[in-house]
Symmetry: C2
Subunit: 172 residues, 2 copies
DNA sequence: TCAAACTTTCAATAAAAATTGAAAGAATAT
DNA sequence: ATATTCTTTCAATTTTTATTGAAAGTTTGA
């Protein structure tokens, strides 16, 4: 397979994966393109390679910068902006986890906290109320567990990466 | 807060969370409704409580059954079907992880495997090709790591649940 | 200060996804 | 065999989300 074809397949696959996880296809594709590009790309480069409009590129590179996984790069003597992706995939994962935790875990935890203080009323049987409280409690517990697990995971991943890196540095 | 209000807030919150993770809002809401309902619900119950059409209910309960987190329940002497959600949240998480692994991890792994055999051509510099191969390799490694971590996590979670359960069973 | 070279914004438009509802299909009882 | 009750399907529609492109905004150099 040729490099260009391989890049296209990656961009397509990454886009599909993204949209399955609630990231817009184009945003994931811009990310993919920057991941497999050696230097940094200008808005026009991205427009051309993905066949999308200027506004769309601008929107998506800014979103990617909000996630902390794409950086703006300024070249001396050039007025226009260039963009490059964080290439360390472990850092990418960490940054995405942190951001999703803030955007999605925290809001649902707040809701769960609020509704866990449901009071017994004549409208609802005590059994119903108890069952509800128990379900919410177990979801809260699980969310806490998942949150801690994710933190541990990030650390484990860093260690794993480090040890792999060390092995590479000291082969044989 | 009253039970009804709390249930509504949960359904809304779960729906929002779902759509952030690539699950349709309505599907997540049907799941949420079943999670906080004590018995099992009929199609009409769901239609009424979520104010959605019959076809929509049918589509979404079947999708939830595909995920293995909702079951069809038949009551003796009743012709219509009733639905209930898996209430053990750890099992829910396990089932969702398994399904997403199959649906999303496996396809992207296949693509990564294919494109990792990119060959050097006159069109692309060796540096470009090498950089690409390295990036794909690190994504493959990471995906494998994440996959193993998820399996471990599920087991850890089961143990955690078991130990919590044991404590509850032997209090004081 | 002005012009040139960019970036950003946003109303209009297009595309994608979700939803409806009625008709067709199944299963069960009489 | 027919009626009844419920489930499933799917073309049409609605809603939501993404995209465009041109105008407005910004920065830099002369």
């Amino acid at each position: 397979m040729q490099l260009d074809e391989a890049k296209s397949k990656f961009i397509e696959g990454w886009g599909t994966l993204g949209s399955a996880w609630g990231v817009s296809r184009t945003m994931a594709q811009v990310h993919a393109l920057l991941l497999v590009s050696v230097g940094s790309l200008s808005t026009e480069d991205i427009m051309e390679q993905l066949q999308i409009s200027r506004g769309n590129v601008n929107l998506n590179v800014r979103a990617l910068m909000d996630w902390g996984i794409v950086r703006k790069e300024l070249r001396p003597g050039e007025r226009r902006e260039f963009f490059s992706a964080e290439k360390d995939i472990h850092r990418v994962a960490t940054l995405i986890l942190k951001e999703r935790r803030k955007r999605e875990l925290e809001p649902i935890m707040r809701v769960l906290g609020e509704i866990s203080q449901v009071e017994a009323t004549p409208t609802a049987t005590p059994e119903e109320t108890a069952a509800f409280t128990q379900m919410i409690g177990s979801i809260q517990n699980f969310a806490e567990f998942a949150d801690k697990a994710a933190s541990t995971l990030i650390k484990a991943d860093e260690n794993w990466f480090l040890s792999t890196f060390m092995k590479l540095m000291r082969p044989g």
